[in-house]
Symmetry: C2
Subunit: 389 residues, 2 copies
């Protein structure tokens, strides 16, 4: 093991790539056309000669193209490094993994903080509202650019899970299998409500300035509160009990004042503070809005009809203590797929990590994902052989 491998285990140093797509324009669900559109993405592993081993992984709210490996000077690896790399769930020794930043994001793909070519200034909230379907359309353009007809799998948790479900419905011929984790086919009013409060928190901050804050500090206080709300929903009640209890941070006795005394308060403060340093408030507005609009059954008589005739194979994973995307939602998706005649495997993993489990429960998820991918990949090869025979 050389020094670099010691310092940057797993995939080692990786780099984000950038490409300009949609020079002919990308027509959005809202009717607006934008273009050209920049996409930031990373790839890990090697694309096979047959181009049949590509897996696209899709990030959640705060993620980006940097799914795995290390950037120079990183103190932490990419957001799904626990799952993506040599020998891991998404095994980069076998598969070619692609992770693009989603449309509307703030990590290199065009979004509200990008420069509007028409004005030379950041879009702000003049950026058109985007949908999960729009996000997938842009990913298809990236796939075209990479010269890949069909991916072996698309995989993602939370928002990423909605994106990959949309793939199956909109582009069933471009994807052989879908791995959707801790997600839903549409937001319940409670999920919409949490998003709306997060948006209101940002827009209530005078520093938001109707979205035109890029020459200043931006709505850091409002964004921090939004992130704190988010983090409560990412954890479970028993998980918080185990992690924090009622432990006090710096005192054995209460201070009888409004400083942060309970460990859980300090945790939330830290999460809020670190988020505002790295995330764009307008991107949070756009991405949460896309989620609230998301309804896979839109345009169909039912969710079952949305999946009708879809040849894609599904692996669906939920976590017992996830109350933001509770297991009953994921189970409902599995039922709809099966009713449509499709192939869905559903697992509920027992965990007290809450929604965060999709980022943490690698030991339980890895064998499920490895065998699912193996099955899909082998079936593919056998079919190829049949066709070639």
């Amino acid at each position: 093991m050389n020094n670099q491998q010691k310092e940057y285990p797993g995939l080692g140093l990786v780099e984000t790539q950038y490409v300009e797509l949609c020079k002919d324009g990308l027509k959005l669900d809202s009717g607006v056309t934008i273009g050209p559109v920049n996409v930031a993405y990373e790839t890990y592993g090697t694309l096979s000669e047959q181009k049949d081993n590509a897996i696209m992984v899709c990030h959640a709210l705060s993620g980006g193209a940097h799914a795995a490996g290390w950037h120079h000077g990183d103190r932490k690896p990419g957001w799904w490094d626990i799952m993506v790399g040599p020998g891991k769930a998404y095994d980069t020794d076998r598969y070619y993994v692609i992770c693009p930043n989603l449309l509307g994001g703030c990590y290199g793909t065009t979004g509200p903080s990008s420069i509007d070519p028409k004005t030379g200034k950041p879009y702000g909230i003049r950026f058109p509202v985007v949908t999960v379907h729009d996000m997938v359309n842009l990913q298809i353009r990236l796939l075209d650019h990479l010269g890949i007809d069909q991916v072996l799998a698309v995989a993602g948790g939370s928002i990423g899970g909605m994106v990959v479900l949309q793939w199956a419905v909109s582009y069933p011929n471009r994807v052989r299998s879908v791995i959707a984790i801790a997600t839903t086919h549409r937001h319940s009013p409670q999920q919409i409500a949490f998003n709306e409060v997060s948006r209101q928190s940002i827009m209530a901050d005078p520093a938001w300035k109707n979205g035109d804050y890029y020459d200043g500090e931006g709505p850091k206080l409002g964004l921090a509160v939004a992130r704190m709300i988010g983090h409560i929903t990412y954890l479970s009640e028993p998980g918080m009990e185990r992690k924090f209890g009622r432990r006090l941070r710096n005192r054995e006795r209460y201070g009888y004042n409004f400083s942060k005394e309970f460990e859980v308060e300090t945790y939330l403060e830290h999460q809020g503070q670190s988020f505002v340093e790295r995330f764009d408030a307008n991107s949070l507005l756009y991405i949460t809005k896309a989620l609230d609009y998301f309804d896979l059954s839109n345009g169909f008589d039912s969710l079952t009809e949305a999946f009708r005739g879809c040849p894609t194979v599904f692996l669906l994973i939920a976590f017992s203590s996830d109350w933001l995307y509770p297991p009953h939602q994921m189970k409902g998706v599995a039922k709809a797929i099966r009713r449509s005649g499709g192939d869905a495997t559903y697992y509920e993993i027992s965990s007290d990590y809450g929604h965060d489990a999709f980022l943490l429960e690698y030991k339980t998820q890895t064998p499920l994902i490895q065998s699912f991918l193996e099955r899909t990949y082998r079936t593919h090869s056998i079919m190829d052989e049949k066709y070639n025979a």
Copy 2:
């Protein structure tokens, strides 16, 4: 029925009374002494000659002394009118009901918006931090003022439920029975977290001005966001599904913008807006902090020890879909009381109203409360007869 009875059914017109107490000072748990302390309260029904039919009801976060009946021009009656009045759960034909505004509140009892006699200006956050125990101490002073040695019952939901549990532990000889609804003996880290985010939302609003906003508008935007967070936690997921679903407010199609489109968004906006017109942001800071400090087992080896020797009879009610104060917490209190040798009756009412159920589920609660009070009251009378014989 005369016109006034038609216009103001139930208890008819009622009035809030005000009294100045604690001229000798009220020593708080923080060590600070305040005084005199003003208390706003209402009473309904008639105190018996034996003074043995008094019930004190305790409000939740946004309530006040006006529990039932109507103030002149009211469009809605008091916050618990559904439960307090002639023939209702707390039957004012039989019992004398007292409802004081809690210490730290903003409806007439001394709190952060009151004038500090030392400066002639509102306290703001110079008001000392208060605890649930302090709130009970002040209620005892009110009871002394009213010349009542012992109340038949103290009753309350949510925060009010914590207050009444504290009565039993701190003043077991002043209360014959406790009715605690949708509450807990101490906040879990999740409950602390929701409160902390609400506080942060207020303090992040520049209009909060470190608590000195009484000459201006105040932190209306931050307070509205705090209230919106609260309202999500007051409802249940299935209750929201039934009440709002994904229904759109004004359009059949999405508007692809950031206006409020889903009914649940408009509901939250309305709740936030109406709250800022009637509630003081600093009071929210103080009351939520009191809740986070609240731990009935403080100073005892266990919760069971806290109840040891307490002669008070308990009625504990939880609601199946209440995830803010989930039934397992209330059940834990019942178990501790029984382990201590005490008398606790626990009911879990099936309801999809979530935490709000304590304000809404009157049909299911009324018979439980009526028979519990009847039992306590009759036992009292029989004992009196025995003593007199």
